[in-house]
Amino acid sequence: MSLHRLLIDSASRFPDNLAVAGPAGEMRYAELDRRADVLAHALSREGVRPGDRVVIWAEKSPLAVVAMQAVLRLGAAYVPAGETTPVARVAAMVRDCRPRAVCGSGDRLRRLVKDLGADVRAVDLDEHSGEHPGEHPGEHRDRVRPVDHPVDPDDLAYVLYTSGSTGTPKGVCVSHRAARAFVDWAAAELDARPDDRFANHAPFTFDLSVLDLYAAFSAGAAVCLVPSELAYAPARMVDFLHRERVSVWYSVPSALTLMMRDGGLLDRPAPGALRALLFAGEPFPIAGVRDLAGWTRARLLNLYGPTETNVCTFHEVVPGDLTRDRSVPIGRAACGDTVRVTRPDGGEARPGEEGELVVEGPTVMRGYWGAAPQRGPYRTGDMVRVLADGSLDYLGRRDHMVKVRGHRVELGEVEAVLGGHPEVADVAVIVGGEGADARLHAFVVPVRDRTPGVLSLKRHSAERLPPYMIADEFHFVGELPRTRNGKIDRAALGSETTPYGRL
């Protein structure tokens, strides 16, 4: 079963239900279905064929959702790029996955495609936004030919680019089978219904959004797109939750923390419509979970899984969790996956022991774009402890990947970009603070006799990295502390967080 079948089936059962809602615009199932077909024909005329990739570089809007569905209907895979992703990073994605087309809008689309040569087609979504978008003679609204190219379950549905330790982003390839294993699990676990309203908080580049969109589509429910700029206005985010009568909310814990701390979430009674609150992407400080549990009777679910495995474990918060002194467990296997915990000596961890979490099963990615296929179990790099009842507690990373407000950041990629600044001789980046307060600290050794400006470093980063990967604090130092074997001593850096501190 393909991922796009979910929308096609719901459009025939619930044509008049809202499929997409929120301030960016509404669209009913019948219209979304028809527009996806019309745009699929247009993309086909641009040369998009089964097995191709199409980058979608657009603001969150019903039209962006139309574009995703159009690409899938052609048997191609979509590659979302965030609205705040800089041109250079989208260009790097394009060079890597070689899409047939880029769907976007405005100047930056033209700038991007000009830099890439003739073999990538630019499709301006604004030209497809009218009442009869991009229609061709013979495609009148009542008789647009449905597009539903047969796909193999192992065909690619989408590619999500994530931070790469070597300095360039890497594309996680997700098949229809993997996406459906996750979406079908989520829809069943949440008992998704046609009158549900799923908030979509995460950007489309982030795998959390897959649940919002497709669990909604599987049930004929609405997905309410949260405008990305509400991240800067927690009180408006809280308003959104009430006004849109959201029944299922899914976001990183940091977003909920800011809504509680600065948006007055707890000052108003919980909305009656809210029946499930899901969070994932980073540990939720237990005090925040406790506050939410005291505020709403909605189910609280902690979901876990790197982009490479989608969600592979989950835990539903029970009253007994609230007296813990650490965050809630990540729980047990989900989506038909099998999880094992491997001790450093290679043995399987027993209750009370720690090890690396290893995942096998239907949600595991096909591989990274351009790399060897993923075969067998996927080693997450996440360290966990096995609890007495067999469920799991998250402990931290084995490597230098960190989470900044739920976003995954490879410190090596941030360092590679800063190291490319002409006035930077050497640099190390660490994360300080936890949860919503996590910040990236860059320790910069300037080129001799030069003092790079903080703003110039930020600008240099912003031209190459998404906003959450731009270092928050800069510390200028004469040299970086090293361990006896010559590696950067990150523990020593961690104790040095005052700006302009000398080591």
């Binding site: 206005a233 927690p234 940091s254 928050d472």
Partner: protein, 87 residues
């Protein structure tokens, strides 16, 4: 309904001083100005914006209904200062 007597100029100057000190390690080169893209360059993110808003409220004494403000105003110091005058 603004409750401040500060001019837009004074608001800008104080915002710049605070952003430099708090988010730009002092900005020793003095690069920040009214039109520096705060969101695009990652100077303001969700956390920093919340810190800035409490500073405007508590330290600058400007008590405005921030939930009425268009979040896109945070794109620059000029944008914030003029939005504050309009509220």
């Amino acid at each position: 309904m603004t409750t401040t007597d500060l001019s837009e100029r004074e608001i800008s100057d104080r915002l710049i001083a605070f952003i430099r000190e708090r988010f730009l390690s002092g900005d020793p080169q003095g690069e920040l100005d009214e039109d520096t893209p705060l969101l695009e360059w990652g100077i303001l993110n969700s956390l920093n914006t919340a810190i800035l808003v409490s500073h405007i409220r508590d330290e600058m004494g400007i008590d405005v209904a921030f939930e009425m403000m268009d979040p896109r105003a945070f794109k620059s110091v000029r944008g914030i200062a003029s939005a504050l005058r309009l509220l």
